[in-house]
């Protein structure tokens, strides 16, 4: 029993070591984070990135009771074979780019993203990254599609419409994986 517990602890420590951490910077009252490549290299994320759907990374930072969020979207354009990326920082600024290679994507990924502003010298931060398999627009498109057709009939077809609507409203982007880091940042 004790051995099993020790083995589990060891495995947990090894995995924690293998899991890279984001690097944080504080400048001008703004905390920025460069997310680790390990997130992109995660098996489930890798698989999702090649699906043609927009993989969405929701980065949520909690400082005390404050919440701040950033959204990163990555879609592989199968026609032009380029990466279409979008970054929305905590102030709502949008940055879109078209990246020609996987290397360019990795480089873009490591670019620090503005996470939250703070006046404090020291910040205890909890950062969560949820990886959603598709975007809100794609979710809505699929919902509309199934609600209208259901693959079996029209929405106006009585009970079928109710069933389609019932199922259509079930569609939502559930995280395929998530990451969490706790950091203690200080200007001193």
């Amino acid at each position: 029993m004790t051995r099993a517990a020790l083995a589990a602890l060891l495995l947990f420590a090894l995995s924690a070591r293998a899991q890279q951490r984001p690097s944080f910077t504080m400048q001008g009252g703004v905390v920025s984070a460069a997310l680790p490549s390990s997130v992109l290299q995660d098996a489930s994320v890798q698989k999702q990135l090649g699906s043609g759907l927009t993989t969405t990374f929701l980065v949520v930072a909690r400082e005390n009771k404050r919440l701040s969020g950033v959204r990163l979207e990555v879609r592989y354009d199968l026609w032009d074979e380029v990466w279409l990326v979008k970054r929305v920082d905590f102030e709502g600024k949008i940055d879109r780019q078209r990246l020609a290679s996987r290397e360019a994507l990795e480089k873009w990924w490591r670019t620090p993203v503005r996470l939250l502003s703070t006046a404090a010298d020291r910040v205890l931060l909890q950062v969560d990254v949820s990886v959603l398999p598709f975007s809100a627009a794609e979710e809505e498109d699929a919902r509309q599609w199934i609600t209208k057709s259901g693959g079996v009939g029209t929405a106006a077809a009585g009970g079928g419409g109710i069933v389609d609507a019932l199922i259509g409203t079930t569609i939502s982007a559930r995280p395929i994986t998530s990451f969490r880091w706790n950091v203690d940042l200080s200007l001193r």
Partner: protein, 350 residues
């Protein structure tokens, strides 16, 4: 018995609902989704997209066309992929909805069956109560019918003994003796009435002219009931009938009417034909049967007469006779203006 049957029906309904639920759940609910999510569908769409990409190289002038087709296919593929990722959640929701529907259905069935069971139980109790009340009334009537003549006979016998002891005159003794005899005759009449109820024989049916039977009856019994005039409206039809038993039915009906009609009573017989069906309506001008008795008028011991004046077996015997004829005796209507009984004869009963 009723409870057991209700429970059996309930269990059968639940089992049927569960089976249907299982079939829908496992054979239907995921099927349509799985059709869209089949790997070969996805592969075909991916191949189609790849083909569009190849075509743009071979035919650059139509690049936009291929691009549009590519985008359309990819949108479809994306939708299917979104469905695939939500398959389990969608099926769970669908199954939950089905479960709710089936549960509501089962609940409704259970409530319905329970209410039906309670209703049957209440009806059974009411019928039992009615039977017991009827038996009570019968017992009371029997006791009274026997007690009256019995007491009178006992008193007369005591008087006879006393007279004999005192050496009374023969005339006095004979009067007391006759009196005892009268009371015993009353008891015998009472017993006969029961015997006639128990001993209604099976009819021996013969083809007879109904018109002639009614005419004969009206003529023979013209003076049987001094307050009742018998009218025959004529007409004729051939029926299968046992003369004697049929006559007994008419006598019973007339006896009742004579009591109900008072001084100026009238009983009118009319032959009615409806195709092969022959009926005889017996209409009197009596005061009618009280509404509370109409539904039970053919039940034994149901009567408007006071105790000691009759047992209320006449109509019961009469209906039994007509049912044995393959026909029936019904109460057609009854009001303050009179009562109509309809005698129906069996078609081709002989």
């Amino acid at each position: 018995m009723t409870r057991t049957r209700s429970l059996a029906i309930l269990l059968a309904a639940v089992a049927a609902a569960a089976l249907l639920f299982w079939v829908v759940l496992h054979q239907v609910s995921g099927h349509w989704l799985d059709v869209a999510l089949r790997p070969d569908v996805r592969q075909a769409l991916e191949r189609s997209m790849e083909d569009q990409k190849q075509l743009r190289k071979l035919d650059p002038q139509r690049r936009e066309v291929y691009r549009r087709r590519f985008d359309e296919t990819q949108t479809l593929l994306n939708r299917i992929e979104v469905l695939r990722m939500n398959r389990e959640a969608m099926l769970r929701r669908f199954e939950l909805a089905l479960m709710v529907v089936f549960s509501l259905g089962a609940l409704l069935a259970a409530v319905t069956l329970w209410m039906r069971y309670r209703r049957e139980q209440a009806r059974e109790r009411a019928e039992y109560l009615q039977r017991v009340t009827s038996l009570q009334e019968t017992a009371r009537r029997h006791a009274h019918e026997i007690k009256g003549p019995l007491t009178a006979a006992r008193l007369e016998l005591e008087r006879f003994t006393d007279l004999a002891r005192r050496g009374a005159a023969e005339q006095e003794l004979n009067a007391a003796h006759d009196s005892v005899g009268e009371e015993l005759e009353r008891l015998a009449r009472f017993t006969r009435e029961f015997s006639s109820f128990g001993g209604v024989g099976s009819p021996v049916l013969r083809r007879e002219s109904l018109g002639q039977l009614v005419e004969e009856f009206c003529s023979t019994f013209a003076n049987a009931w001094p307050s009742l005039r018998l009218d025959d409206t004529g007409g004729d039809a051939v029926v299968c009938v046992d003369r004697d038993l049929f006559r007994q039915v008419l006598v019973n009906l007339c006896t009742n009417s004579a009591r109900a009609a008072g001084e100026d009573g009238r009983m009118t017989f009319s032959i009615v034909k409806n195709g092969a069906q022959v009926m005889l309506d017996a209409r009197d001008n009596g005061s009618g049967i009280p509404p509370s008795l109409r539904a039970r008028v053919f039940d034994p011991y149901v009567t408007t007469r006071r105790i000691g004046e009759g047992m209320g077996l006449g109509l019961s015997i009469s209906r039994k006779v007509m049912l044995d004829h393959g026909g029936d005796l019904e109460l057609l209507e009854s009001s303050a203006a009179g009562t109509v009984f309809r005698i129906t004869f069996g078609v081709n009963a002989c």
